[in-house]
Amino acid sequence: MLKKFFRKTEPTEEEFRLVYDMFYSRVYRDVYFITKDSHLAQDALQETFVKAYKHMHNLDDKGRMGAWLSTIATRTAIDILRKRKGTNEFLTDDITVQERHTQVKDPDVSFLVESNFVKEEINDVLREMKVEYREVLLLRYIHELTIKEIATNLDLTEGTVKTRLHRARNAMKEKVENDPQRQWIGGEKQ
C-alpha cells in the first residue's frame, strides 16, 4: 500500500497522516524504549515524524518505512535524552524500582509475583545500559533488522554494530547473573 502512495516525491497531508496512523504506536514504543521516560518519549515522537516528513522523499524502498522510521526514532530519542538528561541520569519515572526489589528476597515468594516484576526488572536493566546498546537491541531483537540494515541506517560499520550487540547481550546477561536481587529471574549465584 505504501508503495502505491508514494509515487510523488513529497507526501500529501493524507499520505503523511496514513503513515502517522500506521506507525504511531511503533514510533512511540521505540522512543519510549530508548528514553524510558514518557515526557521525553513524546517529544521524540513528534520530532521523529517531523524529520520523517522532511526526508521521506529520500526513502527509496517504501516497503522499509517501518525500519526507516525506527532508526530515526532511536537516533532522535538518544539526542533528546542527551540534551535533556544526560545518559547516566536516572529519570523521574524510576525512583521506586529499588524499593520494589528489596521487598522480595525469598526466591519462592518472588516466583509467585514474577509476572508483576519482570517488566520492572527488565526496565531497570535496560535503563542502566548505554543507550547505544539499547538502540541495537531494539533494532535487532524487536524489529529484527539485519546487522547490515542496522549499520546502513545508523551509518555505522557492521563491525561496530556487532560489537555493540555483543556488549548489549553481555550487559543484559551480566546484570541478571551478577545482581543477587535479580537471581530469581534467571541469574546465577557467584
Binding site: 500500500m1 500506521m22 513528534q46 522532511k54 517488566k119 535496560l126 531483537y141 534467571g186
Partner: protein, 253 residues
C-alpha cells in the same frame, strides 16, 4: 535457571510492548507535528497542498441508521471515517461512513424509489500470507503483539465482483482458540452498518491508540473490535480479554 536466562529476549519484547502511556493523545501529537511543519519556513509553501482523497467524491449514502429513533454521533479517530452508534429499543446499530457530514437524520434518507439491489459475487480463496500480499493492491498489516502464542494458520482473500479488497488473517493456538483479523481496503467513499441485539451484546467505546474503536462483547464471550484508519476498515475477532484485544490492535503494523 538457564531457561529463564534465555527468556530475556521475550521479556525484552514484553517490555517494548508495554510503554507508559503518552501524556498527549494521538490527535494532540498530530496537531503538534502539523504545527511544527507549518512553522518551518522552508517547507511552508509545499506543506500539505491538497486534500485529495475525499474532496471530489460523491456518493449516495444509504444510511439505514436514520430510521432509528435516537442517534448518538461519535466521531472516529480522525477526520476520515465517522462512526455512528444508534440505539433503538432492543437493537444497536454501528455505522461507518466517510462523509464529513453530521449524524444521520431523516432528511438524509435517499429516495427509496432510486434504491436498487445488486447481487455481488463473493469468492474466498485461502492462501499464504506472501501470496495474499501478491494478490492484493494494498499493504496487509500484521499484529506484533501475540499474547497466547497464536500462529498464523492461513490468509483468506475475499474477492467481491473480482475486486480483492478484503483479507482475513486466521490465527490459532495449541488450544484451538482463534483470533481473526479482517482488513478491508476502502479506497473510495463507503457506508457500512452492523446491527446487534442489546440483550445479547454489550457495545462500548474504547480508546485505541489515542483514538476510538467500538468494542462488542457477545453472550458467548466472543468479542469484536471495530475501527477505521484512512482507506482501511479493521475488525478483530476473538475470545481474548478486552485488554489483549486492544493491545493486539495497537500493535498492528
Amino acid at each position: 535457571m538457564t531457561n529463564k536466562l534465555n527468556n530475556w529476549e521475550s521479556w525484552l519484547k514484553e517490555d517494548y510492548q508495554s510503554p507508559a502511556p503518552a501524556h498527549l493523545s494521538k490527535e494532540e501529537n498530530w496537531r503538534e507535528i502539523k504545527a511544527s511543519l507549518t512553522n518551518t519556513s522552508s517547507t511552508k509553501k509545499r506543506l500539505f497542498p491538497k486534500k485529495s482523497l475525499l474532496a471530489v467524491a460523491v456518493f449516495a449514502l444509504i444510511i439505514f441508521g436514520s430510521v432509528f429513533a435516537s442517534s448518538n454521533q461519535i466521531q472516529a479517530f480522525d477526520w476520515f471515517v465517522k462512526m455512528f452508534v444508534t440505539t433503538d429499543g432492543d437493537t444497536t446499530q454501528i455505522s461507518q461512513t466517510t462523509t464529513d457530514g453530521e449524524s444521520p437524520s431523516s432528511s438524509d434518507l435517499p429516495d427509496l424509489d432510486k434504491i436498487t439491489t445488486e447481487e455481488i459475487e463473493v469468492e474466498r480463496t485461502e492462501m499464504s500470507f506472501d501470496k495474499a500480499q501478491e494478490e492484493t493492491n494494498f499493504y496487509i498489516a500484521k499484529p506484533t503483539f501475540n499474547p497466547n502464542n497464536y500462529q498464523l494458520k492461513y490468509v483468506e482473500v475475499v474477492s467481491k465482483d473480482s475486486e480483492k479488497n478484503q483479507v482475513q488473517l486466521y490465527y490459532e493456538n495449541g488450544q484451538s482458540e482463534t483470533v481473526v483479523l479482517t482488513q478491508t481496503f476502502q479506497p473510495n467513499d463507503f457506508a457500512s452498518a452492523k446491527v446487534v441485539d442489546n440483550e445479547d451484546t454489550n457495545v462500548k467505546i474504547v480508546d485505541l491508540d489515542g483514538g476510538e474503536a467500538r468494542f462488542i462483547e457477545f453472550k458467548d464471550n466472543s468479542k469484536q473490535l471495530i475501527w477505521s484508519t484512512p482507506q482501511m476498515n479493521w475488525l478483530l475477532e476473538g475470545k481474548l480479554p478486552e485488554k489483549d484485544m486492544i493491545k493486539i490492535a495497537e500493535s498492528i503494523e
